[in-house]
């Protein structure tokens, strides 16, 4: 059986940096003693990216994710281990490193593309692409120092993704910029993957990883603490502890509930309030398609349950369920709000895939291409009558 081609491969990579206090030019030239104290940024990291896929690495700030990306991008050379990449690599690290704030957007993009080896007519068409994708319009001709951070992020991302590469190494770039920009970035990344390119996405934003990556690793202190499908990796990363469920709890929940597309849906839930507290409940229905999308499709407000001890029956009612046939994730949250309006609410119980105890909503009906069906009606109107 042949393995699919691998676009990025790294095996047993260690990355150590000698402490700055240990480094002197002379010692480097003659060779540092092996026992000089070092900072270990990466330990024994192995990663494979199949061609055409993008792999996620999630972790908190300082976990070593950016270092890993730079090792893959050959900006750093690993202390141990090997790194192999197939094809041209684009490193989208801290962008704007080439920039001089006095340059205009166009001049920055031209400088970057020239350094990447792009010239002539290709350069001109890429500049047009950058202008269009970044939506900078007239600002493109103005100096970068007049840009807001959002505009600058759009410029850098558009520029870095203009030339075609085989491998994209993306570092937190998508965290800057508003949702519209992030949606465009996601779309751009999907296009790139459809073309056969591959990538590694490194971020603390797990929603991006869920939407773009089938597989992901969780990085902690320079090592992978978990590797698996993206949803499992997110659960490991979030590490949300199940709340103690002492003050209030959901009881007798079923692993799955049924509903029918287009018909009124009703999901019965039971909550026990064990100690008096102002308890509220809310639910969300999410669609989880690892690697292509994660989305909260329907969301309820926080609804008051009660504040006395007792068993409460709560029924979730959704008229004419706008979801098409399929399996959805049903999440339920139980919380209480403290007296002080400035203090944060306390979560007492939860059913959610992020905690590992999610519930499923199975929607029956005729299979359709879209996820949702918007309620509507049609009306003919006469020509001339509005």
């Amino acid at each position: 059986m042949s393995n699919p081609p691998v676009a990025v491969h790294c095996a047993d990579v260690d990355m150590e940096f000698p402490l700055a206090s240990e480094i002197s030019w002379w010692r480097l030239v003659t060779g540092l003693p092996p026992d000089a104290p070092r900072v270990r940024a990466l330990s024994g990291v192995s990663l494979d990216v199949p061609k055409g896929e993008i792999v996620g690495v999630i972790g908190k700030n300082g976990a070593g994710k950016s270092t890993l990306l730079r090792v893959l991008g050959k900006v750093f050379h690993p202390t141990r281990g090997e790194v192999r990449t197939r094809g041209s690599v684009a490193g989208l690290f801290e962008l704007g490193g080439l920039g001089n704030p006095h340059l205009s957007g166009r001049e920055y993009a031209t400088r970057y593309l020239r350094i990447m080896g792009v010239r002539g007519r290709v350069l001109a068409s890429m500049l047009a692409d950058v202008l269009e994708f970044s939506e900078l319009d007239a600002a493109f001709e103005r100096p970068v120092r007049t840009y807001s951070s959002g505009m600058a992020a759009r410029l850098y991302f558009a520029t870095a993704t203009a030339p075609r590469h085989d491998v994209y190494l993306i570092d937190e770039v998508l965290a800057v910029g508003d949702e519209h920009f992030q949606a465009k970035c996601h779309e751009r990344i999907r296009q790139v993957l459809t073309r056969g390119a591959s990538g590694v996405l490194v971020t603390h934003d797990w929603t991006s990883v869920l939407r773009l990556c089938h597989h992901a690793h969780v990085m902690e202190r320079g090592q992978f603490s978990f590797s698996g499908s993206s949803d499992q990796a997110v659960v490991a990363y979030l590490g949300i502890e199940r709340p103690p469920a002492k003050v209030a709890r959901l009881v007798e929940t079923r692993p799955s509930y049924e509903a029918h597309a287009g018909r009124d849906a009703s999901v019965p839930l039971m909550i026990d309030i064990v100690e008096p507290a102002a308890i509220e409940i809310s639910i969300s229905i999410e669609q989880l398609r690892v690697g292509s999308g994660w989305e909260i499709v329907l969301l309820s407000d926080w609804i008051r349950v009660g504040d006395r001890v007792g068993r409460y029956h709560a029924t979730v009612r959704i008229p004419a369920l706008p979801l098409n046939a399929g399996q959805y994730s049903l999440n339920v949250f139980v919380r209480s709000r403290p007296e002080n309006p400035l203090a944060a609410p306390i979560l007492h119980d939860i059913r959610s895939w992020t905690v590992g105890n999610g519930l499923t909503l199975i929607v029956e009906g005729v299979p359709a291409a879209q996820q949702v069906s918007l309620p509507f009606r049609v009306e003919r109107y006469g020509a001339g009558a509005a």
């Binding site: 603390h204 509507f376 049609v378």
Partner: protein
């Protein structure tokens, strides 16, 4: 006794370079602002970019002098503006905490008392003893924030620094701000997040082009502000999205056009979720009515929200013209940017098409996230027996 008092403060920046003929004598950043704050006031300042918010903050903080008018501030001002700007790259995080303490007028012993708390809050671990130039931007922001909130500020000015680092740190940061506010000092918060302002502040100022447009309760001011921004956004959306209108026809006799009608405005690009929407389609096809009308709504990131086909035989008039309204009462699309494509299709060929981009907003953003659809999900609770 008021702790912060501004009287008819104006700030004019001289023009840069040679003044053009007929141009104003300078940029009026702050125009006739009078303001009084006492202990316990939590003021939110909202306004579009360039409205003068940052300049006003600089004047209150004493970083800039007003061109005219008076400023009286009683008490030490702590500002959290561009995060990380005061960090010394070459020394360790720990040393930076001490240095910053000195700048704020505290002795090393004063800082020693709180330093463990600061380090714990920043969650930087062993990195605290590494030089700051080795930190990622997220780490720098965390350090800067942790340093500033552990000082007991008398007058705290925060300029949009609440969205730093990852989600869990951001939550901690917001929680910490609330704590500080609860201690009864003066807080001035500049934010683009109406939710933060409504949550944290007890008074709100709307600044536009350096002038105070409105001064009152956060709920009232935010609502008025959002309303006016809507109207401006709609104009912008119309301009932005007008260029994406594509109308193509393979056959000269065929045409189709679509208009988005909400309320009494004939054609909009900024639609409100939850309000009724009338998608008005008119077109001309062939008199034999052997064509279909397709209507697709696609979200900016490619997700198909709506795809319907209407047979010409059922919906077109005898002369082959179509006047059809797709009515959504209410519109349930979530806040995002969409494109609607209508086409007349004959034997699998899209003979004529029209596309329009539009944006949907919601006036009641939900706190749990941004759902794909804004749809009534009710939870009926029965009292225990």
């Amino acid at each position: 006794m008021s702790a912060v008092r501004l009287d008819q403060v104006r700030k004019i920046f001289p023009p840069i370079g040679a003044p053009e003929h007929g141009a104003p004598a300078g940029v009026v950043a702050v125009d006739d602002v009078s303001l009084e704050l006492t202990a316990g006031d939590r003021l939110g300042i909202i306004g579009s970019n360039g409205a003068g918010k940052s300049t006003l903050l600089q004047i209150i903080a004493g970083l800039a002098d007003p061109t005219s008018g008076s400023r009286h501030v009683d008490g030490h001002v702590t500002t959290i503006m561009t995060l990380g700007i005061g960090l010394r790259d070459l020394v360790s995080g720990r040393e930076n905490i001490y240095l910053d303490g000195e700048l704020q007028g505290q002795s090393r012993r004063d800082v020693d008392r709180i330093i463990d708390e600061v380090i714990a809050f920043s969650e930087l671990g062993d990195f605290i003893d590494q030089p700051v130039r080795t930190y990622s931007t997220g780490m720098k922001a965390r350090l800067a924030f942790s340093m500033l909130v552990h000082i007991d500020p008398e007058i705290l000015i925060i300029d949009e620094a609440l969205s730093v680092g990852d989600a869990s740190f951001s939550r901690k940061a917001t929680g910490k701000i609330r704590e500080i506010c609860a201690r009864g000092k003066i807080l001035i918060l500049v934010s683009h997040s109406m939710a933060s302002v409504r949550d944290i502040c007890n008074r709100c100022l709307w600044l536009d082009r350096g002038r105070i447009v409105m001064d009152g309760s956060p709920a009232a001011v935010c609502e008025s502000y959002i309303d006016s921004v809507r109207k401006a956004d709609n104009k912008q959306a119309m301009q932005r999205f007008t260029q994406h209108v594509g109308s193509h026809s393979l056959d000269a006799g065929w045409r189709v056009a679509v208009a988005l009608v909400q309320g009494d405005v004939p054609d909009q690009r900024l639609l409100e979720s939850g309000a009724p929407l009338r998608i008005q389609i008119e077109g001309t096809g062939s008199p034999d009515r052997a064509f279909d009308l397709t209507v697709d709504i696609v979200r900016l990131d490619g997700v198909v929200m709506f795809a319907q086909t209407f047979a010409g035989r059922d919906h077109a008039a005898a002369d082959g013209t179509v006047h059809l309204a797709v009515i959504m009462e209410p519109l349930v699309l979530g806040a995002a940017i969409y494109r609607i494509d209508v086409a007349l299709v004959r034997q699998e060929v899209r003979v004529t098409t029209a596309s329009v981009m539009f944006e949907v907003y919601t006036s009641v953003p939900m706190s749990g996230g941004k759902p794909m659809l804004i749809y009534p999900v009710a939870i009926d609770v029965a009292e225990p027996a």
